[in-house]
């Protein structure tokens, strides 16, 4: 008996302890979250393979990343993300151990230690005017036994020590109004020359002494036909350029201060030359590459400036810089596309002409587009001959290393430049698919749980622990391609700047499918296509279930609002493009309407630059639905430049040359004009369209009911003093102010307007339910501040009377119209906050019951979750007992930053740009996706997972407990039987 009691007690205690795992522990990292690191589209690459144990390539990218990659596997050794304003111009390697980056238009020069990426030194090179940044690192050049590099930028030429970044000498070159294009230094010579154009019709050259920067000579010479575009250096004393009308090539030779020009007509060189020739930037000594509309040509420059076509290289080809081989030869790589494969050719350029050194065909999947850039590197093969490896950058920004006709590694670096994200549901599990097939068999399952049990009871060996961790990370359930009951498994459809669409699985972050959209590829008619946004086009869940969901991708050709738009509809499950529309009207704004047609396609209203509205999908059914709801469609547009907020509505069909039933004119209904001298729109925020509010009423501690003013039409808008838009310091405390508005977007009513004196932007804001939280800088307090405004409906405030509710005299069910004057009241409060922000979001849950957290993307590229409770305007210094029970925290001056509430725990989302929250089906949980140069995904439970057991709940322990109890019952029963028998026998 007592034995049984002891067993029972022990088990009970063990059980009660096993429940209390709520916050994230070290071994839980990676269970529900994943983190991926990218670098972006590679602009420059420098190989470092000579005499290095770990062969690497240093790259700089359009995401402003400088990074060192492992040449064997493509992994990142180290990486630095520079500020968006600090654009990298050039990179190089100096002294064999420093990576040199020139950035900010030639203003900042930095050296990074090659093995570990530590910054060694940094030099700022200021100057009076912007000019082409140039970096020249001579291989063997020393002044006073110090290695020196030359930098041109901001009108100055600098000689800089490679060791410590000190400026040895500097000379201004801007005095003659010359636009320096190239720096030339020949090994061993005493002079360095800087050549460029003066105006458009003059060629000029400076010659400086390398040791002290003394200006030895300046000459310029007029060329009557003029120049256009850039100067391309062929040899140390020859350069080529295109003349101002673009019909001939000019060879410029400059020898000992003597200039000579030689003009060659392009039509003499190229057979069917029409127009638009460009000299490509590939650096091949003695020759250059000329690109025209339909081909590219390798042209050699002969001794007296004559040109000779060496080879025509066909269409769509990328050429690398030349690589010097031992023995005075040089080689370069060119990549062509042929029958869906890519053809890599390495050409050897020797004295006796051009020959193919290597020819390889590599199969790439067809969603990569064309090759954009090629970088070549050589290595010594086992048989002492020269081998080549090339790094290629594709149209979708991905990076490949090719060697021996194979892809050694590839990187999906397009994912570093995400434009928009939309979640999509996975397919429902079909009956045909047996669960047993996907799950392991019962024995495996039990074994796993036994292991977990061992872990829980802390009797597991280190091997067991490793096995448990592995099992957790690879739990088969989370990466399945079907929906789960909790709604944790979804697809994230992301659109990248290169115009590629990816579907990422939320379970492990893998790419399910990807598609390079034809509509967003550069073409004759669409010169600079740009993806704008993604929209849920079809999301079948009631009828039309047999159809796959799809997304609408909206883009435009060109940067201006007036350029023509492109539309694509892509299947969310397979990535197939269902429909595409090119060269439609311009697209200024996209409004997803709340109506769907019989196939559950959502109606979208696309507004063009002429304020006309176009309805999609273009079907009679959609038009019919739209006509019925015509009077109830309103929108607003914030014209930031003019400082006007306008409300508009649809009027009637457009009057166009050709009749278009799907085009509607709009008209102004209201306008709010902000005084241009004192207010400029800094930020707007609206509620998320799919947000669910659980209850309108809020019961306070005093048993009072407050009714939230929950309107989908509310807009938060913040304006700042126009002068304060500049950097901090451009405005004084007294003349700056920030004004926050709450505006009803149907009627243009200003529901609330409040002024923060002495505050400036940047403003970040989120709007959820009936509250808005915004972040700005308080000049007076020299601190960042966050404010909250909550808005309550006073018209319903009288409904507190129970009797009224019983008698039905309340107005809770009366219809709400936007045309009634709302009686609202607001509560607000401001708090100091320590961080500056990059992005802001709020958690969303399926039913809106769970309390909210504000997600802050901090300047340190991390995501901080801040409970909305801290941003409650009802916080007082000394809350009453009742208020404390309600969960009101005593008022503090500033918001706390609790280290454990970093969602990203130890990780960083470099270059953080956006945070997307998606509700899971499980009410307590919300999915958070953060993107920048890196991607990070995790699940959040703002009020803990109150509605489910934790994932690592030990079912085995529960079963064993029950089993043990049953056994204990039997044993005690037998005992008591025995005892009773003994009693009776006595």
């Amino acid at each position: 008996m007592n034995m049984a009691i002891r067993v029972y007690l022990l088990l009970f205690l063990a059980l009660s302890y096993s429940y209390t795992a709520f916050s994230l522990y070290e071994d839980q990292v990676g269970l529900m979250d994943w983190h991926q690191q990218y670098i972006g589209k590679v602009k420059h690459a420098v190989f470092h393979t000579q005499k290095a144990a770990r062969k690497r390539v240093v790259v700089s990218t359009e995401e402003n990343v400088v990074s060192s990659l492992d040449l064997r596997h493509g992994e990142i050794f180290w990486r630095h993300v520079l500020a968006p304003s600090d654009v990298i111009d050039q990179i190089d390697i100096a002294l064999g151990k420093y990576v040199i980056t020139l950035s900010s238009g030639g203003s900042i020069l930095r050296a990074w230690n090659l093995p570990d990426g530590q910054m060694v030194w940094e030099s700022t090179l200021p100057g009076p005017k912007a000019s082409k940044p140039l970096l020249l690192v001579p291989v063997n050049f020393k002044i006073d036994r110090e290695s020196v590099m030359f930098v041109h930028g901001n009108g100055f030429i600098h000689a800089i020590s490679s060791i410590n970044g000190e400026v040895i000498w500097k000379t201004e070159l801007a005095s003659e109004g010359i636009n320096i294009q190239q720096l030339i230094y020949t090994d061993g010579s005493d002079t360095i020359s800087a050549v460029g154009f003066v105006g458009t019709h003059r060629f000029g050259a400076y010659i400086l002494h390398v040791k002290n920067g003394e200006l030895l000579n300046y000459k310029s010479m007029e060329f009557p036909s003029g120049f256009s575009g850039d100067l391309s250096l062929v040899t140390d004393d020859t350069a080529v350029a295109i003349d101002s009308i673009g019909t001939s090539l000019v060879t410029i030779q400059f020898h000992d201060g003597l200039f000579s020009f030689h003009q060659t007509r392009l039509s003499d060189l190229i057979q069917d030359f029409q127009r638009a020739a460009v000299i490509s930037q590939s650096n091949i000594p003695g020759a250059f590459i000329l690109g025209t509309a339909n081909s590219i040509t390798l042209i050699k420059v002969l001794s007296r400036g004559e040109l000779k076509v060496v080879e025509e290289l066909g269409h769509a080809t990328a050429v690398s810089d030349a690589l010097f081989l031992p023995g005075g030869q040089q080689a370069f790589a060119l990549v062509q596309h042929r029958d869906g494969k890519i053809l890599l050719t390495v050409k050897l350029d020797s004295d006796d002409g051009l020959s193919n050194l290597l020819e390889e065909t590599i199969h790439l999947d067809n969603q990569r587009g064309k090759v954009q850039k090629v970088f070549i590197n050589t290595y010594v093969r086992v048989d002492r001959s020269n081998g080549f490896r090339v790094l290629i950058v594709m149209e979708d920004d991905s990076l490949f290393l090719l060697q021996q006709g194979e892809i050694v590694w590839s990187r999906e670096d397009g994912l570093a430049s995400i434009v928009d994200v939309k979640p999509a549901e996975l397919p429902v599990e079909k009956d045909g698919v047996s669960v047993a097939k996907v799950e392991n068999n019962l024995f495996e399952w039990l074994k796993g749980h036994l292991l977990k049990l061992k872990g829980t009871l802390m009797i597991a060996t280190p091997d067991d622990v490793a096995a448990i961790q592995k099992m957790r990370l690879q739990s088969s359930g989370k990466s399945k391609m079907t929906q789960d009951r909790n709604g944790f498994r979804k697809l994230l459809i992301v659109l990248t700047r290169a115009g590629k669409l990816f579907a990422l699985h939320t379970g492990d972050g893998r790419i399910v499918w990807s598609r390079l959209l034809m509509t967003l590829r550069k073409s004759e008619t669409c010169q600079s296509p740009r993806g704008i946004s993604l929209h849920q086009w079809q999301d079948p869940h009631h009828h039309a279930l047999n159809q796959n969901p799809s997304v609408l991708i909206v883009g435009r050709c060109g940067d201006s609002l007036g350029s023509t738009g492109v539309l694509s509809i892509v299947d969310s499950y397979t990535g197939e493009e269902r429909n595409r529309m090119e060269h439609v009207h311009s697209i200024a704004h996209i409004i997803p309407l709340s109506f769907t047609d019989s196939a559950e396609q959502r109606l979208h209203l696309l507004l063009d630059a002429n304020r006309r509205a176009h309805l999609y999908p273009r079907t009679a059914e959609a038009l019919d639905i739209f006509q019925r709801e015509l009077g109830n469609i309103y929108w607003y547009s914030a014209e930031t430049d003019e400082g006007i907020l306008r409300g508009r509505s649809v009027q009637k069909n457009c009057v166009l040359e050709e009749a278009d039933n799907f085009c509607f004119d709009s008209r102004d209904l209201w306008s709010i004009v902000f005084p241009s001298e004192s207010e400029k729109i800094a930020a707007t925020a609206t509620r998320s369209l799919n947000e669910v509010v659980h209850t309108q009423a809020k019961v306070t501690a005093e048993q009072e009911v407050m009714y939230k003013y929950v309107s989908k039409n509310m807009l938060f808008l913040a304006t700042v003093t126009p002068k304060a838009v500049g950097p901090i310091g451009s405005v004084t405390v007294d003349e700056s102010s920030l004004i926050a508005y709450l505006i009803d977007t149907v009627t243009g009513r200003i529901l609330h307007r409040v002024t923060h004196h002495g505050s400036v932007g940047p403003v970040h804001a989120v709007f959820s339910e009936n509250w808005v939280v915004y972040h700005y800088f308080n000049l007076r307090a020299h601190r960042y501040e966050m404010s909250v405004i909550e808005i309550y409906d006073q018209a319903r405030a009288e409904n507190k009377d129970v009797l009224k509710l019983v008698l039905g005299t309340h107005n809770l069910t009366s219809p709400i119209t936007a045309y009634s004057r709302p009686e609202v009241s607001t509560k607000s409060q401001s708090y100091f906050f320590a961080h500056s922000l990059k992005a802001m979001a709020v958690t969303l849950t399926a039913k809106g019951i769970t309390s909210k957290q504000v997600l802050l993307g901090t300047i340190g590229d991390q995501v901080l979750a801040l409970d909305k409770r801290f941003l409650d305007p009802r916080r007082t210094v000394n809350p009453t007992q009742a208020e404390k029970e309600e969960g009101i925290i005593p008022l503090t001056d500033s918001l706390p930053i609790i280290p454990q509430s970093y969602v990203t725990h130890a990780l960083k989302v470099e270059g953080l740009r956006g945070i997307v929250t998606v509700p899971a089906k499980l009410e307590s949980t919300t999915l958070v996706f953060t993107y920048g140069a890196d991607l990070f995904f995790t699940q959040l439970a703002p009020s803990k997972t109150y509605d489910s057991l934790t994932e690592d709940f030990s079912y085995a322990l529960l079963l064993i407990t029950i089993g043990a109890l049953v056994i204990a019952i039997f044993v005690t029963w037998v005992w008591s039987e025995k005892k009773e028998l003994q009693e009776k026998w006595r």
């Binding site: 306008s671 709010i672 009627t747 002024t755 404010s787 045309y819 401001s830």
Partner: protein, 301 residues
């Protein structure tokens, strides 16, 4: 007696002084004052102290107010224009107000009056048409009152049926101001707009106008004086759950314990009489410490 009168006069003087001082120093706080005019002033044909001689607004009659001596008051006029559906805007009424200049340079409007022009026959026809078509009645105001019409007009619209819910037409203006700039105007019926929709033209073609000027309010920060209480980590003790009673904390152990005790007691009761009859109290501790009970039982056996 004389001293008291002097004292009285002095005290009055002081009071007056204080009042005056208050009036001059409290300007910064008055800017958020809501200036609500009596309804009767806004009534059509209501008494207007200064009937507007010209239709185009001009600032006029600048005079020094004798009372405070520091602020400048000037009269200001601006026009309300209306449009029916898509028609062009035409004058519909005139607002008159007094522009008050505060010593700190700020300017606000006070004493807003509104007089509406009578509706012409075409206007009435147009209005009826709007009600039938359930279309918008639009109004606009200049966006800057000193420099009219400013950059652009401030527009507002309302469904015509909302105005004509009673016999006459009811309208309500909320003009959001920032100094002399009109930010926006909220226009509509004073109460709610009826639902289900009723569309009937008014029987009396006159407007009951209500006007309200609205200035923004400033953020007031609740000062926190109790910094010391909060401690270093900001959140302080408030996150610590309140001390719970012993029972609330340990009920999950106490209940099984109680069950065990009861179990043991019943068992002890069932024991032969001679053992427990003398000292029932001693059984409790025996039962609880299971180890103590076991030898006792064994001894019996």
């Amino acid at each position: 007696m004389a001293t008291t009168t002097i004292a009285k006069i002095l005290s009055w003087f002081f009071l007056l002084n204080i009042v005056l001082q208050l009036a001059t120093t409290s300007f910064a706080f008055q800017s958020d004052e809501l200036l609500v005019d009596d309804d009767e002033f806004g009534l059509e044909g209501g008494r207007l102290p200064d009937p507007p001689p010209e239709t185009r607004p001009v600032t006029s009659a600048r005079r020094r107010s004798a009372e405070s001596g520091s602020d400048l008051d000037s009269k200001i006029q601006f026009q309300l224009e209306h449009a029916f559906g898509d028609s062009d805007f035409s004058p519909a009424g005139t607002f008159t107000a007094r522009l008050k200049t505060w010593p700190n340079g700020g300017q606000t409007l006070t004493k807003l009056r509104f007089s509406r022009n009578a509706l012409s026959q075409t206007d009435k026809e147009n209005f009826k048409r709007l009600i039938e078509g359930d279309d918008f009645y639009q109004i606009r105001l200049p966006s800057n009152l000193l420099n009219q019409p400013g950059r652009e007009h401030v527009i507002s619209s309302v469904k015509a049926r909302c105005l004509s819910q009673r016999d006459a037409l009811d309208e309500h203006f909320v003009i959001n101001m920032d100094g002399v700039n009109v930010l926006g105007v909220n226009y509509g019926a004073p109460g709610s707009c009826q639902y289900p929709r009723v569309s009937r033209p008014p029987t009396k073609w006159s407007f009951n106008s209500h006007t309200l000027l609205k200035y923004s309010n400033e953020v007031l920060r609740t000062p926190v004086f109790t910094e010391a209480v909060l401690g270093e980590n900001g959140e302080g003790e408030e996150l610590k759950p309140p001390e719970r009673s012993f029972w609330a904390k340990y009920w999950m152990y106490l209940i099984p314990l109680g069950l065990i005790v009861m179990n043991a007691m019943t068992q002890a009761m069932n024991m032969p009489e001679e053992q427990g009859a003398g000292q029932p109290g001693s059984q409790g501790p025996q039962a609880i410490s299971g180890r103590g009970q076991a030898p006792a039982v064994r001894r019996r056996n």
